[in-house]
């Protein structure tokens, strides 16, 4: 591995174990050698101003000064410029749920239609800095799309591993980019475990294994954007889907950094987590007050959230507890209802993870856990067009008729 002194990671100064605080050098490593805890990027940001950010490109790179990447775009691989997605004020859904102010942060707008383009862009950059020739990942589908597309754009090889029972829409939308797509007979946790072994065996840059500290930092950009798009303010409440738990913890990290840098005013905020009942290890541990997460064998239509052994679960629980929020779970039926509710009220067709988040939002309100009078942001992290199977039995033709006006008049009342 190349030595630290020759490498450019922008404002990042090192890695540190989140568990035991042992420091480590910046590099392709993700696990503490002392306790196996996750390594996290440390920074020295210096001064960062709103003006400097606002003058940047309309992509995650406007926050380059807050990411572990070279500050000059020419030192980064060619990329798909993800990020700066819509924050849509959602009056109709708010009315339906009896809420005062609701926004949907809609990450369908990303190049491969999910928030994973953000994390991949940062991981790919670290991969280039560290000299990897092949980029790889374990994925539930969205990440596979993002890695395959980003590798195509950067002109490097990719090897993508996914469970072989994923939705067709996620298989095709990875394969089309010309990646080496490996279907594994097993669930995501099996794929993930295999990737940890391959990372030891081959010289691949695995975005969510040996490049994971960099990759995870990409999720912070969702938090930065929410604050900037609200006019440099933090919302009162955020609802975030939980797979590994990383996204939720990084939204919190982003908000804390913005406060520390004086880019937003400090205020209390609450970060809620959303899971599916068929894979709810984090919600279960939260409910039972455990500090470890008991792994599960997932069985849910929300395959993008089907991580039975979530690496950042304990930290997501810490954030929900610290911010006086909750972590909930909803049935597959509620997920389908959530997808339809969001589509019918806001014109947003979310993938199953979005259904999980909206259904949990509704449930948090019904249970009095989330305050409907406070400003709330809900994350939609993916696109329903990739997971049509999830609702194709629930929606379809209202009616089919012969091509005659008479038939139409009879079938469709005024």
């Amino acid at each position: 591995m190349t030595t630290l002194t020759t490498l450019d990671f922008g404002p990042a100064t090192g890695l540190v174990c989140r568990e035991c605080e042992t420091p480590a050098e910046l590099g392709a490593r993700h696990v503490c050698t002392e306790c196996f805890g996750p390594l996290e990027v440390k920074y020295d940001f210096g001064v960062v101003t709103r003006e400097q950010i606002e003058a940047g490109p309309r992509s995650i790179w406007r926050y380059a000064a807050l990411l572990p990447v070279p500050q000059n775009a020419s030192d980064r691989p060619l990329d798909l410029a993800p990020g700066f997605t819509k924050l849509q004020e959602s009056h109709n859904l708010a009315n339906r749920l009896g809420m005062t102010k609701l926004w949907i942060k809609d990450d369908r707008d990303n190049p491969t239609h999910s928030f994973k383009d953000r994390v991949v862009a940062v991981a790919m950059t670290a991969g280039k800095t560290l000299g990897f020739k092949t980029i790889s990942c374990a994925s539930t589908g969205n990440l596979a799309n993002a890695v395959a597309a980003a590798a195509a754009r950067a002109g490097i090889k990719s090897v993508v591993l996914i469970p072989d029972n994923l939705e067709q829409g996620k298989v095709v939308t990875s394969a089309v980019y010309g990646t080496t797509l490996v279907g594994i007979h097993g669930n995501y946790d099996d794929v993930n475990r295999l990737c940890s072994e391959i990372a030891d065996d081959r010289g691949y840059g695995f975005v969510n294994v040996n490049l994971r500290p960099f990759y995870a930092e990409g999720s912070k950009t969702l938090g930065y954007e929410i604050a900037e798009q609200l006019g440099w303010r933090l919302p009162d409440q955020v609802v975030v889907p939980i797979a590994s738990g990383s996204l939720l913890t990084k939204i919190d990290k982003a908000f804390k950094e913005l406060i520390a840098l004086g880019l937003v005013e400090e205020k209390p905020y609450r970060i809620f987590g959303a899971q599916a009942t068929g894979c709810n290890p984090v919600a279960e541990a939260f409910e039972k007050g455990w500090d470890v997460v008991r792994p599960q064998k997932p069985n849910t239509i929300a395959k993008s959230l089907a991580i039975g052994n979530p690496a950042d679960g304990p930290y997501a629980i810490d954030v929900a507890n610290r911010t006086n929020a909750s972590i909930g779970h909803v049935s597959d039926e509620q997920i389908v209802d959530g997808i339809r509710l969001l589509a019918e009220t806001e014109g947003i067709f979310a993938e199953t993870a979005g259904g999980v988040t909206v259904a949990n939002l509704k449930q948090f309100i019904e249970r009095g856990q989330l305050d409907p009078t406070l400003e709330t942001v809900v994350l939609n992290t993916g696109d329903g067009l990739k997971t049509i199977e999830a609702i194709s039995d629930n929606v379809g033709f209202t009616v089919t008729i012969p091509p005659s006006l008479e038939a139409f008049r009879a079938a469709v009342p005024e």
């Binding site: 196996f36 990737c195 940890s196 072994e197 030891d200 995870a216 792994p295 991580i307 052994n309 690496a311």
Partner: protein, 91 residues
């Protein structure tokens, strides 16, 4: 030596760089303690001060996560394959 144990990169400083080492014992706990006699220091990386598997370590016996089996008491008959992996990955 009837059990093969796969060791992740970050523990190979205890195994002279070997990716696989052999051990003996009726249960996972016995195998790990047997390894410690030849690879001193390894045990403390896998188990915490209370003798439990660390929260960021996953151990598999014949491809099954031992948290779904009997934990450290999971039987390891001759021919068993044990794999130790860092839990932190993915997502």
């Amino acid at each position: 030596m009837s059990v093969i144990v796969r060791v992740p990169t970050i523990l190979r400083s205890y195994t002279s760089g070997e990716a696989e080492v052999a051990g003996d014992g009726a249960t996972l706990n016995d195998v790990l303690h047997d390894l410690e006699t030849r690879h001193a220091g390894l045990l403390a990386r896998v188990l915490d001060d209370n003798g439990k598997i660390r929260r960021f370590v996953n151990v598999y016996v014949n491809e099954e996560d031992v948290r779904f089996e009997q934990g450290l008491e999971t039987p390891t008959p001759a021919g068993t394959a044990v794999s130790i992996l860092a839990a932190v990955a993915g997502g």
